[in-house]
Each structure stands twice: as C-alpha cells, then as structure tokens.
Symmetry: C2
C-alpha cells in the first residue's frame, strides 16, 4: 500500500461499483438537488453532483431558484418528501443570508436526507443506528477502511468540532471502537494531544495549521481542509513537511474531497434500497 | 466550598426553587409516567419521581400495565402526545424482555420527551440546540456549575460511552468548550489517559473501577456508577482511596443520583414553558 491515500482513485473505484449496481435496477434511484441564489462555489458543487449522478445512472433533478421564501421552499421540500419516485433530497448550502437553513434542512424526511444533516439523522448516528451519515465523515471512514487502517483500540484525535465533520466523525470513530479526543479553538496544549494520535483528523479550516512537530511518527493523517488562497487549494496539514513522518496521509486536493460526492451517491442508493425493501 | 460535591443538598435546593416557580403557575405542569411489568428497581424509581413531582406541585399520572403489546403501548403514547394537558411523558426502562424499547421511546413527541431519550433530542443536543437533555448528564453539568468548576479549556475524560450517560455528557462538555476524550472497554492504557483529566466522569458500571493511581492530583471526579453489591451501593470510583488526591468528588450514594430525578422535574417545567409560550 502506498503512503498517499489516493481519494481520487478510491472514489472512482466506488463510483464504478455504484454504476454497476444501478445498471441492474429497473427503476432508477432519483436525487433532487435544490439550490437558491448565485453562490459560485455552490454552482461548482452542484455541477459535480450532476456529473456523478449521470455517470452512475441516478436520475437527477436540479431545482434552482434565484430567490424563494422560506415558507415556499419548505412547501417544495414537503412535495418531494411525499413524491415516491424521489429517493434523496439535498439543499445546497449555504442558502442566501436571512434564510433559516436549520428549519429548511430539517424539513427533509429523515429517509431522504442523503446529506445526513437533519437532527434526526445526527441522533441516529450517535445512537449507532444504521443511518444516512453525512458524506464527508462517511468518506473518511471509507478511506480508512479501504487502506485497512486499524481503528479499534487506537487513539483518534479530531481537531475541529463542526456539525458537518468534527462531531459526526468523532461519533463514527467511537462507534468503531477508537478512543476519541475532540479538540478545538479552546484546547490548551494542542500539539501535546495531536502528538498522541494514531489517527489524526484535521478539520479546522486553516491552511497548514497542523505542522510537522504536531504529528506522531507512523500515524495516519486525514486532512479535511479545503482552504482556497490566491486561487490555490491548501489543506489544514503542512503536507510537504509532514509527509515523511507519517505512515499514511491524504493529499489536498485528491484526498477526502473526491469521496464526499461519491458518498452522497452511495447514500442515494442506500435510501433507494430502504424505500424498495 | 467543600471537597465533597453534595448532590443531595444541591438537588434539594433546586427542588425548592422549582416548587416556588410552580406555585406561581395557574395551570400546573403535568407528567405522565408509563411502566410495564414488575421490575423491583423500576418501582423504586417511579416512586421517587412521584414523590418529587408531588413535592414540587407537578401533576403526576402513573399508568401501569402488568403487560401490554408494543402496538397498544405506542397507541397510548400517541394519545398522550396529542393531549394538550400533558407536558412530559416518560416510559420507565427497562421494559420487559421482547418489547421494542427504541421504537416505543421514539414514539414520544420530541417536545414531551423529558427523559431526553429520543433520537431527535440526541440530534438536537449534538447540534448544540436548546433541548430536553437526558437527565443524568444534565445533572452532572448542574453539579459542575453549582461548584463553579471551570470547564472551558480543561481536559475532560469520560469513561464509558453509553447512550444514556457517556455520549451525551461528552457532547455537553464539548459544547461547554472542554477538550473531551471518550474512553471505553477497548481503550488501551486507560490510566495514562484518565491521569490527564482535569475533569473525570466515571460511567462504567463496575464497582471501584477507578483507583487512586488513575486520577490526577487536584482533579474533579464525578462518579456516575450505581453498583449494588450484597445490598450495598458502590460507585465506579474507589472513593476512600481517591478522596484525598482530588479537588472535588461526588459520593455514591448522594452525588449524581439525587440530581437525576430533579433534572427530570426541571425538564417537565421546561417542556411546560415551551408549550405555553
């Protein structure tokens, strides 16, 4: 196995597996993506989802609004909740300022919440129940699994406690029997803690925040950061200097990022199976 | 402040505060407790709840079944969900063997789930949203608050990852800006980790599991254990030998235990306020 965890390559492999699985289905799974406003990054992300869905053979519907009231958007989502042909619904975030993201996202039926962002799915995850887990944490677990990284009994350290990544990946690692420490901006002596990590998850959102002196020899480092500086992408880990100290590491780009879209597609197929069993 | 965290005394103080608050209300809050079967410990716990509710002035209804089908119990709960005079509903656990506890508990409306045990309330907690938190973790936070224990920036170690105590207390401590490590049966070198704890939460369920050599000088130790051996109660911490090493410690009995019932009553009042606002 190589030292670099090649998320791009692994995601392509999973994409092909999903494609083969979908080819066998008479009725295709269907994903609805709802977007509002003109966030340029959102356009890129929505495009990636469309491309992946088309490749795999998932029916894809994109509903875009230049603007819409919260109440009307809630009604739209409720319509798709009731529509039996729809397996997955996602609302592309961020929504324009002033919209109530939490209310809108939590309108999505738990069984169609393929982004795994509703309160109910978060509660199911912490309860260790099979659920539509949010896509980035799920992608990280897939990478670890693919690389045959042992999780049980290890010390896993998560830096960052966001609701999208830090908290759910902490719960997934805990469910997989790691001893899990969650660090954040109020943590004292951070380096002392990260240096004890067998598995280090960097989800801070600051370019090259994790430096060579902060990682343990022979550890596995997963970099969730996507920091755009002067048009270039940087991870949260100072990759070049950390590289030769660790056993395995994800690059940015090409590590965790490509997994996220594929995990979304896997969730659509999972939701489809639940709807058809 | 004394070294012993006197949960009994603190809980009585809160009980009196709740009583004074309820006295001012024209319509009283109402709690429904549902029990099934003849578990002797359950009888004791139900009795404690009735006593506390009566003291505070909360209307109390106890529905007991010698036996009932899952479907019929679900229907009963749905009836109370719809009943606007009811603010809180709890199902006394454990239910008799063969009953689907998860399904039954999750029938309770999120806004009446005063035990904080539904998936939805667990998800709200992890999202750091105001919620009906489960009573033992909530009681621990109250004890720490009452004793003016600083949480932000400390290392908190939780031993045990149950859905009733370990996981929710980890999330509450994290929301309060502690760096949180969750340990469990698969953790290696446990003593090395617990010795780093400024705040140690013992929620293992084994008599005197945490010994003197496992705690840090000057730390705060919260013992959630209730281990009944030959009719006597023991905590998870070897209290007598740990006592002079730490800054603060909860005894068993008389520490966390008394807080749990009072926190349930506080949740009933909280649910009442949400229903009447």
């Amino acid at each position: 196995m190589s030292k670099i965890i090649d998320g791009k390559k692994i995601s392509l492999k999973i994409k092909d597996e999903l494609k083969m699985e979908v080819e066998k289905l008479k009725v295709k799974p269907k994903l609805v993506v709802i977007s509002v406003g003109d966030n340029p990054a959102s356009k890129v992300y929505v495009g990636q989802k469309e491309k992946a869905a088309n490749y795999i053979g998932i029916d894809y519907l994109h509903e875009h609004y230049d603007s819409i009231s919260d109440d009307n958007l809630v009604k739209e989502i409720e319509k798709f909740n009731k529509d039996k042909s729809v397996d997955g619904i996602i609302v592309q975030l961020p929504l324009p300022d002033g919209m109530d993201e939490k209310r809108i996202v939590n309108t999505i039926s738990c069984d169609k919440d393929v982004d795994g962002l509703t309160y109910l799915n978060a509660g199911l995850l912490i309860n260790n129940r099979e659920t539509l887990a949010s896509c980035t944490p799920k992608g990280i677990m897939k990478l670890l699994e693919h690389e045959k990284v042992k999780i049980e009994g290890t010390n896993a350290v998560v830096v960052g406690r966001s609701i999208l990544v830090g908290k759910p990946i902490a719960n997934l690692l805990l469910n997989a029997n790691a001893t899990v420490t969650v660090c954040h901006s109020k943590t004292k002596d951070l380096a002392k803690i990260t240096k004890k990590a067998d598995i280090l998850i960097a989800a801070i959102g600051k370019k090259h925040f994790i430096t060579r002196d902060m990682v343990r020899h022979g550890s596995v480092v997963i970099d969730v950061g996507i920091n755009r500086v002067d048009g270039k992408l940087y991870g949260d880990v100072d990759y070049d200097n950390v590289y030769d100290k660790v056993a395995k590491i994800t690059p940015v780009p090409g590590g965790v990022g490509p997994m996220t879209v594929v995990m979304l597609m896997e969730n659509v197929l999972l939701a489809y199976k639940n709807h058809h069993k």
